[in-house]
Structures are given as C-alpha cells and as structure tokens.
C-alpha cells in the first residue's frame, strides 16, 4: 500500500467511517465544495452529498450545538473548526452543554470536534494555538492529539465510534510533512493508550503531537553525541491519560522530561508532573523538568515564534541536565 500523509490519513478515516455508518456526517465552514481551508474534507461532499457534508455559517456555537442535538438523536457528527483557535468561540457549548450532557441528563453526545492546531507555521496568535489544556480541565470531554499518520487515522476512527464527545486536535505542521503506510484493514487506535515512540533506559521524554518529532530528533542527537539512551512516550490521548504508560517509563528511567508546544502555566505538563508525583515519586532520581512554550500569545515573525516555541536544542539541553543531575 502506498504511503499517505497525516492529512490524507484523517481524510481516509472520514471516508471510511462515512461509508460504514450513514449516521456519520460532517459540518463546518467551507468544508463542502471547497474541501476545507486545508483540504482535509476534499472530495467528501461530491461522494456523500450536501446533506452529509454541510457548509455552515460562521457560527462555532451553532456548529457544536447542532452537532450535540443531532448526536442526541443517534447521529455521529464530526465538526470542523476551521482553525482550532476558533474552538474558543464554542467553549460554552462544549464545556457547559456537551461535556455535561451524559452526566446531568443521561443524554448521549457522541460527536467529534476536530481542527488544525499548533504552531511552527508562522500563523500568529490566532492560527497557531494549542487549546488542549482548557478542555483537559473539563470532565466529560475526551482529547486526542495524534503525532503520526497511522495514529491520525486510527484515532479518528476511534473518536467517531466513541460514545462521548472527542476533541480531535490535528497538527497542521504535520499535515503534509510526514507520510506513512497505513496498517491494513479497519485500523483503530484505542483512545487512552500511549505509544512508545522510542525505547530508552536513561531519560524519559513524555510528550504528544508535533513535539514528539522534536523529541525524537533530540533523542537521536543525544545518543550520537552523549551516548544517552532516551525513551520517548507519545501520549496520543490526553483524556483519558495513560497513567500506566507514564508510570512504566518513570520506573524504567527514573528521570523525566515533559515536553509540549502549549504554553507553560496551567499546561498539560503540570498535570503529568503531578500524576508522577502522586503515583511514582519514589522512582524519581531527579526533579521532573518541563520544556514548553513561553507564557506569551504566539507571535508571528519567525525569530519571535522560534524563540517562544520549544525547539530540539531546548530538549537536548533539558535531557542533559536531567542525565547529569
């Protein structure tokens, strides 16, 4: 089978799920005839028609709210946020309505909210965000953020089949930069299971999304130059979080670096650090370190963006500090 990109893998998952289940439909801005701002949904409308690939007004509240209503009635909507930065326009609908529906009203709300996320693309403050931490704090939502093309496909299929709302963050830097051959058959990646992206014994890096690749680059460099064996854990799912995988790698290496592209304060790294503190404190030989973005809105100009976002060199530096602690 030919290799396909991360973006094509998402599209393939949407195609397969819409073929499989008539209740699956897509809605979002410019996703139909135009195929979406990044062309993720290209070809879907010509295959499945306007009623199943719905071009909506610029109304994130309505997109998410209508998806919730349809989901109550047994449909399986997949909402596109044109950029994930606009998910905040539907924040109330997601956190107050969707996330609580099952708990407060026994109303099932099986739906996916997906959208291009993340920086390293000179997108500026409103086309580069990583808003996962805001939703990690909301019980009732699931969150996935794949780093590879096969995970992008397998997690999308799992998200569509999940009985609850799944926020599916897709990294736009990875859209066309990585390629992979898809596993054959009905490829599902279970939500809530991390992946060991690289085996190692000296230091663990726990990360997800685009910084998985920066961490792998750093690990290769550290092996080459320092002889260090670095393990890289790709969380893939943030909610639920794979505590077993986190604890296992802590026990293996006893030194942990948490890396993410989102800003630092109140970020996911703080939650991971707290869990390790509670579950495996005695296994640590060094304080847990974080490499994250600085606490600033993401700036546009390349020297500014590069300075703010985590880079491979930052990860190398942090791992060296941990190894020598």
């Amino acid at each position: 089978m030919p290799e396909i990109t991360y973006l094509e893998a998402i599209r393939e998952a949407l195609f397969e799920e819409m073929e499989r289940d008539r209740n699956v439909f897509c809605l979002g801005e410019d996703i139909g005839a135009y195929g979406g701002a990044f062309k993720v949904t290209e070809g879907l409308q010509s295959r499945f028609g306007e009623s199943r690939v719905i071009d909506t007004p610029i109304s994130e509240i309505a997109i998410i709210g209508a998806a919730a209503g349809a989901a109550h009635m047994g449909m399986r909507p997949v909402c596109e946020m044109q950029f994930i930065d606009f998910i905040s326009c539907g924040y109330d609908m997601l956190t107050n309505y969707v996330a609580t529906a099952r708990y407060r009203a026994m109303l099932p709300c099986p739906m996916v909210v997906r959208g291009p996320s993340g920086g390293y693309v000179r997108g500026g403050p409103f086309h580069s965000q990583n808003p996962e931490a805001a939703f990690l704090h909301t019980p009732g939502l699931k969150i996935v953020y794949p780093a590879t093309a096969s995970d992008a496909k397998g997690l999308m299929k799992a998200a569509i089949r999940d009985e609850d709302c799944v926020l599916y963050f897709e990294h736009k830097y990875l859209y066309r930069r990585i390629k992979e051959e898809m596993p054959s058959g009905d490829h599902i990646v279970p939500i809530g299971k991390a992946r060991t992206a690289r085996e190692g014994t000296d230091v663990s890096i726990i990360t997800y999304a685009a910084t998985v690749w920066k961490s792998l680059d750093a690990a290769a460099e550290l092996e080459r130059e320092d002889g260090l064996s670095v393990e890289v854990i790709d969380l893939r799912s943030l909610a639920p979080m794979d505590d077993d995988a986190i604890v296992a790698t802590v026990k293996k290496t006893n030194r942990v670096l948490v890396v993410h592209e989102d800003t630092r304060t109140g970020g996911v790294a703080g939650e991971i650090t707290a869990r390790i503190n509670e579950l495996a404190f005695e296994w640590l030989d060094a304080p847990i370190l974080r490499v994250t973005a600085a606490d600033v809105p993401l700036p546009y100009s390349p020297p500014l963006e590069d300075y703010v976002l985590p880079q491979t060199a930052d990860i190398v530096k942090a791992v060296r500090r941990l190894a020598s602690y």
């Binding site: 209503g69 989901a71 109303l107 005695e282």
Partner: protein, 377 residues
C-alpha cells in the same frame, strides 16, 4: 382518576392530531388545556410550601401568570409523531403536556436520588427523549443550536417530526440564539422558536434588552416566518404555535413565535421584585390572569363547561399532587459515591480520590525501588 383523565384526553388529542390541520379544539381538549394549566399552577404552589419548609434544596422558579403560553404552545406539537421540545425555566407547563410527572418535578426540586437526574441537576432541568422533551441548561440561548441539531436530524432522516425551543426575551440577546436560529433558518430545519416575552429577564426590562419594537421583528433579519399572540390566551398561544408547527412539518422551515405574557413573580423565589413599577403586578393578576380568563371562556355560553366540571379537575389535580408530594418526600437522597458515575460511557465511573476512599495513600500502594530501605522502619 387524574391518570384516567389524562389518558382519555390524550386519546382525543391523538385523534385530532396534525392530520386534522388547525381544526378547532374539541371540548375535551380545552378541558385538557385547563387541566395542564391548573396542574402547573398547583404544583408550583406546592413547591412554594416545600421551599418554605426548606425541602426544596435550591432556588424555586415560578411561572405564575405564564401557564397559558407554555401549555398552549406545547399542545400544538404532536406527541404521536415524536415531536420534541426544549423548555425554559418558566415552561413547566410545556413539560407536563409532554408527559412529565409531578413526582419527577418534586423529586428534582428536592434533590432526591431517584429524581430523573439522580440528584445531579436542579428544578425542571431534565428531559426524556421518549416523551419528547430535552432538558435545558442555565446558559440562556444554548438550547436553540441544540434544537437546530435535533431538527436537522429529523430532516436528514426524512422523519415527519417537528422541534420547538423556548427562549425568554433575555435569551434573544445571546450569541447562541442568533447562531442557532440562523443556522436552522439556512438549513430549513423543522423548528419553532418560541420567544416567551414576559417583560423581564431577572430584573432587566425588555427596553434594556433590545431596541427592537417587538421580538417578532427579529424574524425578518433571519428570513423566517413570524407569529405573535397573546400568551395569556391559551387558545391564541395554541393557534399561533400550531401554524408554526404545521409550517415546519410542511417543509416551510423555522418560525419565530412571540408569545406576550407577564412574569408576576420574581426571577426566583428569593427575588423581591423591587425593580417592578408599583401596581404593575396587581394589574396583570387582577385583569389578565390566564387561568381566570380561560375559565370565563370555558364556562361561557359557547363552551358551556360547568363550574362543577372544572372543580372536579381541580380536585383531581390536588389529589395527584398530594400523592406525589408524599412519595417524593419519602424518596431517598442519593448515595454520595453515585456522584462519580456516568461522566462517560467508558469508563463508566471515575475512581474515588484516595482521601475519599479512606484507605492507603498512593505512596503505599506503589511498590518502591529495591534498596530504598528506610521506609518501613
């Protein structure tokens, strides 16, 4: 007895369902409207007593003076076809029309473990897809996009069903109202949006809510049909909503229905209504009470319902609520740990926090590295 009344009346309604068009309501149907209005009012009066006895755990929201618009509009739906509504806080009457039970309402208010939401949500915030009502949340306007999606699913599946969503005058100022009604209009969803104009949003009068002359006018901007009716006239509320329901069912898309009424009690029971001009409430209660008005119609020469007949309905209502009150009072409070169940389908429950378990701390359940030998000493 009450149950028999409802069953008999429901049968009448089924016969006279949407297929009959907007035919005038039969005598039995009008008595049923009276029953639901009286049930709403008496149930709320009972809740006031329970509130004063501190048996209602949270706030209490009244619909005094608004019973006709809730009951009349909901009555325009066809339960047999599977129509669904989403009520607002002053639409208890609409839920009763769809089959909500006083016992459920009482258990909700009393935060009981066997309430429809098992003690998770307050007051009339609950629903049942089978009976055709979806529980609201407190963020006003949010149910408009949700009901747009419910009715979108009707359209996508080619089902002959209609949805109705209630908003107050205040909710028309929200972004969710705008986005939801516009989305539904563009998609030509079979949706009726009832704007229940009762004069106030908490303490804010409509003049501070909108510069529009009337809420009905907002339909123009969305390119949808509009209806307006005296919300204190139950038949007028029914007929205006019925036209909108028929339009939706016939593929005519969204209608905004403005029902003009008046909120005679405060936002909730604690509200002293200091912001209401003197005499305003008395004027509405003495000359424009929806139940008084409807009694006059029913007992007039045209309808010829006897006072005794209506008194019998009142007695049945009281008996039904008495029974429900006893039962709700005897209901258990929820088991505390039920709070952790059902956030997701999978996992089915959250794990208790260790300090709630009252057992070993996390540091003890995890094995320790070999050679870390001082811990047990």
């Amino acid at each position: 007895m009450t149950k028999n009344l409802r069953t008999a009346a429901a049968r009448v309604r089924d016969v006279g369902g949407a297929g009959a068009g907007a035919a005038p309501l039969a005598r039995e149907q009008k008595i049923e409207l009276y029953y639901y209005m009286r049930l709403t009012r008496t149930l709320e009066e009972r809740l006031v007593n329970l509130y004063r006895q501190t048996k209602v755990v949270g706030g209490l929201f009244r619909s005094l003076g608004q019973e006709a618009d809730a009951v009349g509009s909901a009555y325009a739906l066809d339960r047999k076809k599977g129509d669904i509504l989403s009520p607002l806080i002053r639409n208890l009457g609409s839920m009763l029309v769809q089959g909500a039970q006083p016992l459920e309402i009482l258990r909700q208010y009393m935060a009981k473990g066997d309430s429809p939401t098992r003690g998770r949500e307050l007051n009339i915030h609950y629903g049942d897809l089978v009976r055709g009502f979806i529980g609201q949340i407190s963020q006003l306007g949010d149910m408009v996009p949700v009901m747009a999606g419910v009715t979108l699913s009707f359209k996508m599946r080619g089902e002959d069903r209609v949805g109705l969503v209630y908003v107050g005058d205040g909710a028309t100022s929200t972004g969710a109202f705008h986005e939801g009604i516009n989305f539904a209009a563009v998609q030509r969803c079979p949706l009726v949006v009832v704007v229940e104009n009762n004069g106030y949003a908490y303490s804010t009068p409509i003049a501070k809510q909108t510069a529009a002359k009337q809420f009905k006018d907002k339909a123009i901007g969305y390119g949808i049909a509009a209806e307006q009716a005296d919300g204190n006239d139950v038949i007028a509320a029914y007929e205006a909503t019925r036209r909108a329901v028929d339009r939706a069912r016939d593929g005519g898309g969204v209608t905004l229905v403005e029902l003009v009424t008046y909120r005679r009690k405060g936002h909730a029971e604690h509200d002293n209504q200091s912001y209401v001009p003197e005499g305003e409430i008395d004027r509405w209660s003495s000359s424009n009470d929806p139940i008084d008005r409807f009694v006059k119609v029913l007992t007039g020469s045209e309808e010829g319902v006897s006072a005794a007949e209506l008194e019998a309905v009142d007695r049945r209502v009281t008996e039904e609520i008495d029974r429900a009150t006893d039962e709700a009072d005897a209901s258990p409070m929820p088991e505390p740990a039920d709070a952790l169940v059902g956030i997701y389908a999978d996992p089915p429950a959250e794990q208790p926090l260790w300090f709630r378990e009252g057992i070993r701390a996390a540091v003890e359940v995890n094995e320790r590295p070999a050679g870390w030998g001082t811990h047990d000493a």
